[in-house]
């Protein structure tokens, strides 16, 4: 346990998972039956606030409105259609077994638990696998143009961490098409008067009344006005925290602010150290780099990953003969080859570069080569499958991937940690539900490709519509007036923070603080972590945070469209959150999934779990005041994880 965290609760009474016991395959049905219902004519009496309009938020808002609830949906973008789910490329998993290759709900469940390195809750994962098939049906009914075969039936491809083809896709734009499907369902409810959209609004605080989540404070990003919105439940669908690393595949606006404000108001934050570094991204080209671009994992179906056998080989890639190439994934992982899970592929790339085999100007890249596929199938077939990805690569790098291998390197992509939720997706604050990437529940320590879309839509379409009713039916929820002291208090606190940021008038830009934080996180808390580095990171982050509050320069005013101010608020929260992430990584003395502690590895440099001491979710409770931050006020609670169906084993993708 880390210094300064005096209290640890093992099997904390504050963490009631409310998961059904007994046969995992019938658990969700039994649980649904036990949940109280709100009768149809009463639903219109309840108001629900949904924050974020990505796959989880849009699907939840639309589905809740269809049931009859009144929904207010918020997003910081100018339209709900722009949430970052839109950028997901490769596909969405579903256990349809259309390919007749032996897939089943049980296999998807098994693959996901194993892929997550046994750090997810079995009951949640089984439910996710079982609703996966409904998701595809629902999306097709909405008019999502999934790829089809000539007979008119749906096509599939394979993804990392699985030996069956269960991934549905729409070109390399699957996230876009799924999000536009959910967005269209959402806008239909706007037309029917059941949803009101509040775009260009940023959530800055949670309103709790008598310990129950009853509303949010937002800033109107165009006028700068602060608004309070109250209701009977708050559904947070605000995505992940990858931008704590500054450089990531996230959109520039992605942030942890909404989740972090909820954390500081009492919601436990679970497993923040579980971050996914995606193996196939376009490498950094220089100091100006503002974000990183992912090349879909689906490329590993046909592309072969290699580095030269001789370190520093200066020949052009096409001039290096096969004998001088090391196809290291195929060599080390015979069974899965280039399709090993993301964490394994990323670490293997890092290892190759650390040992001096890296390629390109920076030597921080490996090759992803389509030469053999193009020779076998022809360039036209490759273009049909990956055309837009190849085009994107060419635009960014100025190189032609049809004639020269792509250079790729891992980058921060997804965060498995998030606010702790029970089986109903309710956080430790009653009435606050957390969906999609913002929660911690389904992916354990590593997410498999094409599973994020599945989880976001599963939570929104097929879980929250059932579970939220139980809260509404069983809680006393008196109407909250706008002048309620808890509402006014939250609004004043949010205003004060903004005024404080504007008042510092220092000399260093927000951007430069964000870059500095990202550098600390990537170097000490990235693909490989160790005790000394993490302790240093905690000190460095705290130091940077102190400097931020003394010396940041935020231009402009609070009463106008001010992107510098928006960014400042987000960076301020990352500077607190980053310390918790480092601390969680320090506390988890094992390697699992995306969390790799150098002290804990096998002789073959694979992750070495410690199931005796760490087979739990680590949920952090903030016990300090919400208007300041002190890392030592984070108190650890543990939710033990039990594996009754997929038995604890060491993951192996070798044979």
């Amino acid at each position: 346990m880390a210094e300064g965290h005096a209290t640890t609760t093992n099997g904390s009474s504050r963490l009631q998972s409310n998961a059904p016991t007994g046969d995992v395959t019938t658990g969700w049905d039994r649980h649904k039956f036990d949940l109280k219902l709100v009768n149809p004519s009463n639903k219109r009496k309840f108001n629900i606030i949904v924050v974020g309009t990505g796959l989880a938020g849009a699907s939840a808002a639309a589905s809740l409105a269809e049931l009859g609830y009144n929904v207010k949906a918020f997003c910081f973008q100018d339209s709900p259609r722009r949430a970052h789910s839109i950028a997901a490329q490769g596909g969405i998993n579903a256990a349809k077994n259309y390919c007749n290759d032996g897939d089943s709900v049980w296999r998807l469940f098994y693959d996901t638990v194993k892929g997550g390195d046994f750090r997810a809750r079995e009951s949640n994962v089984y439910r996710l696998a079982s609703v996966s098939t409904n998701i595809i049906d629902q999306c097709v009914a909405q008019g999502v143009p999934f790829q089809r075969d000539y007979g008119g039936l749906l096509a599939n491809r394979s993804f990392g961490g699985a030996q069956v083809s269960r991934t549905f896709y729409a070109r390399g734009q699957t996230g876009q098409q799924l999000l536009l499907g959910a967005y269209s369902a959402l806008m239909r409810q706007v037309d029917l008067g059941k949803v009101k959209i509040f775009a260009r609004r940023e959530m800055l605080d949670l309103i709790n009344v008598d310990g129950v989540a009853r509303g949010i404070v937002v800033r109107n990003l165009i006028t700068g006005e602060f608004e309070s919105h109250t209701g009977d439940a708050v559904v947070l669908c605000t995505g992940g925290y990858g931008n704590v690393y500054y450089l990531s595949t996230n959109a520039k606006g992605c942030n942890v602010t909404a989740a972090w404000r909820c954390h500081k108001r009492g919601a436990f934050f679970a497993n923040p150290c579980y971050t996914q570094i995606h193996p196939t991204c376009i490498p950094v080209s220089g100091e100006h780099q503002s974000k990183l671009t992912l090349m879909s994992e689906s490329l590993r179906n046909d592309g072969r990953v290699w580095v030269p056998k001789n370190p520093g080989d200066s020949r052009a890639p096409n001039e290096i003969p096969d004998d001088d190439r090391d196809y290291y994934l195929e060599r080390r992982y015979a069974a899965f080859g280039n399709l090993v899970p993301r964490d394994v592929a990323s670490r293997a790339a890092k290892k190759a570069c650390d040992e001096g085999f890296g390629v390109g100007e920076t030597k921080l890249a490996v090759y992803l080569d389509f030469r053999d596929t193009i020779k076998r199938d022809g360039a036209a077939v490759v273009k049909g499958k990956y055309g837009n990805l190849f085009q994107m690569y060419a635009k960014i790098t100025g190189e032609d991937p049809y004639s020269t291998p792509m250079r790729i390197y891992p980058a921060v992509h997804y965060t498995m940690g998030g606010l702790w939720v029970d089986y109903n997706l309710q956080s430790t604050i009653p009435g606050l539900y957390v969906l999609g990437e913002a929660n911690f529940s389904d992916h354990g320590a590593n997410r498999l490709g094409a599973s994020a879309l599945m989880q976001g839509l599963g939570d929104g379409y097929f879980v929250i519509p059932y579970t939220i009713g139980h809260h509404l039916a069983t809680s006393k929820l008196p109407k909250i007036a706008d002048d309620h002291p808890d509402v006014r208090g939250a609004v004043e606190a949010a205003k004060a923070r903004v005024m404080k940021l504007l008042g510092i008038q220092g000399s260093r830009s927000v951007e430069s603080f964000h870059r500095a934080l990202g550098k600390i996180m990537w170097e000490q808390c990235g693909m490989a972590r160790n005790k000394v580095g993490l302790e240093q990171a905690k000190r460095d982050i705290a130091g940077l945070r102190d400097e931020f509050w003394k010396n940041v320069r935020v231009t402009g005013t609070g009463e106008a469209f001010n992107q510098d101010l928006e960014h400042a608020g987000r960076v301020a929260d990352f500077l607190e959150f980053g310390e918790l992430l480092a601390n969680d990584a320090l506390t988890r003395e094992e390697s699992c999934g995306g969390h790799f502690r150098e002290e804990h590895q096998t002789d073959e440099n694979e992750a070495k779990r410690n199931d005796t001491d760490f087979c739990h979710a680590a949920a952090w409770e903030y016990t300090g005041g919400h208007d300041s931050f002190a890392g030592e006020k984070e108190q650890l609670h543990k939710e033990p994880l039990e594996f009754e169906n997929v038995h604890l084993t060491t993951r192996s993708y070798r044979e």
Binding site: D137, G152, R188, S512
Partner: protein
């Protein structure tokens, strides 16, 4: 990056403090810009410089920076999203420009997209058009098995090509009439081509077109600037389909629109 490759550029940027304020072009000199930078990274560098001199940074919309969210939106030397075909502003790279160039940067120009500040505009009109009918009326629930609705591959690919629209508004900005026909036709086509979209096709097209007109977008005069500017390569053949769908709806449909 060797400094010898760096570009020196003159930027002329539209600055407008608010929706009702008077705007003007201001000139900024940029030194030693790496050709590997994206266009927006070049603007990031400018903004860092402005912050150091206490001038307010240039407001511009952006988010994913990988060409899919549709948030970025700049007229670059008079062209929506700049000189490269099928490329959003965020995917445009500085290697496309030459040392000594002057680059004029403006917001989308259309009365239906009012300026919020500097280069950022309000495109909520697009959301209202989708709200009028850009969907299949299906609730979440037990939809039939996905393979019960076979869709021929050619039809699916045409539908997908229309569905690829990112909703950025370049089509409107590029059109001399500020017409939104390409945007509307993309959604109408996507759904008209699929069996799921057929039952309400007449209602959809009439309502979306009515909303488009109400928002103040201009009419289509077939100049195809929209197609040339579209980063998602949505084809003007969709506009022809939109016209057919509209005609069908008002002349022969039995849907009772």
């Amino acid at each position: 990056m060797s400094s010898s490759r760096g570009l020196n550029l003159t930027l002329k940027i539209w600055r407008q403090p608010g929706p009702n304020a008077r705007g003007e072009f201001r000139t900024y000199e940029m030194k030693n810009i790496s050709p590997d930078m994206s266009f927006l990274e070049m603007l990031d560098v400018l903004n860092e410089q402005l912050i150091q001199t206490s001038e307010e940074p240039v407001a511009f919309d952006h988010d994913c920076r990988e060409g899919i969210c549709g948030m970025c939106s700049l007229m670059i030397n008079g062209q929506a999203h700049g000189p490269d075909r099928a490329t959003t502003t965020c995917q445009l790279h500085m290697r496309r420009f030459s040392d000594g160039d002057t680059i004029v940067i403006e917001p989308w120009r259309a009365s239906a997209f009012p300026v919020i500040r500097d280069l950022a505009t309000d495109r909520a009109a697009f959301d209202r058009i989708i709200t009028a009918g850009g969907y299949v009326s299906v609730n979440t629930g037990n939809a039939q098995d996905a393979n019960c609705l076979p869709v021929g591959r050619d039809r699916q690919e045409k539908s997908m090509a229309a569905a690829a629209c990112i909703g950025c508004g370049a089509c409107v900005a590029a059109c001399k009439n500020a017409s939104a026909m390409l945007f509307v036709s993309a959604k109408v086509s996507q759904l008209a081509l699929l069996p799921q979209g057929v039952p309400e096709r007449a209602r959809r097209v009439t309502r979306m077109v009515a909303q488009m007109d109400k928002e103040g977008f201009g009419g289509c005069t077939n100049t195809y600037e929209c197609e040339a500017a579209c980063p998602a390569e949505v084809s003007v053949t969709n506009i022809a389909r939109l016209n057919r769908e509209y005609l069908r709806a008002v002349v022969v449909s039995e849907e009772g629109v």
